[in-house]
Symmetry: C2
Subunit: 118 residues, 2 copies
DNA sequence: CAGTATCCCTGTAGATACTG
DNA sequence: CAGTATCTACAGGGATACTG
């Protein structure tokens, strides 16, 4: 990303999930494999263009698998790869941090705050 | 972030580190507290404007402390808050994921890849 | 030293229309 | 159904100059 971050795998991870909708997509596919149309419904605000685009990138990064069924009309199913699933797992720690931060925001540090992570 | 992500603390975490230079800054401050000028040197490509701006946001999010010393010339020291330090810790899992992903990219999954996270 | 103010440029994403 | 194509808008960020 930047010279200072070259050595850090975090940059790579961040790069993979940058993009306005990737986390949503990853999150949704984390629940189950989904068809294109179903993803659109799950993420109402996204446009077809953006969904397609973000899916291409996730696929290129090896986070998502794209399976085409030769049917009429067309049927395409997206699912998480091993790597994509692992990303979701790795993200859990940050997720907990975010929730803790949210609680702190509501109830600001009473005196000297306890470490957010136990 | 988006309707679908409302319930996830991950969105909050991501929001806090979005911005082209925040990870660099967090990373640098993770090593030690730093003055404005020192941060600039550590992150050569960043402009004064961006450094100031990103620091303001990190401060507003409670990740960074700003300490002003009444000296001449001015002296300002930035350091991680507890919360900021906790974020760095929480990010470690993603960091490991990124490194694993990088290795996989170099040596693609031989047969059926082992789970990236042990 | 530690910033602010300004102007400009680019990329990212939204809207819309069309296709295999 | 599952996309692509095009055109536009806007915000994030870069360069530069100035200030307490």
């Amino acid at each position: 990303m930047n010279p200072t971050m070259e050595n850090c795998g975090f940059a790579a991870a961040l790069k993979a999930i940058e993009g306005k909708w990737k986390v949503d997509i990853l999150c949704e596919l984390g629940r189950a494999a989904r068809r294109f149309g179903r993803l659109r419904q799950s993420i109402p605000a996204i446009s077809e263009k953006m969904l397609a685009q973000q899916l291409r990138e996730l696929e290129a990064d090896g986070l998502v698998d794209r399976t085409v069924y030769a049917e009429q009309p067309a049927k395409v199913v997206y699912s998480l790869t091993e790597r994509g699933a692992a990303l979701n797992v790795a993200a859990a720690a940050l997720c907990r941090w975010g929730e803790a931060a949210r609680r702190d925001a509501v109830r600001p540090p009473t005196a000297a705050a306890d470490p957010v992570v136990a």
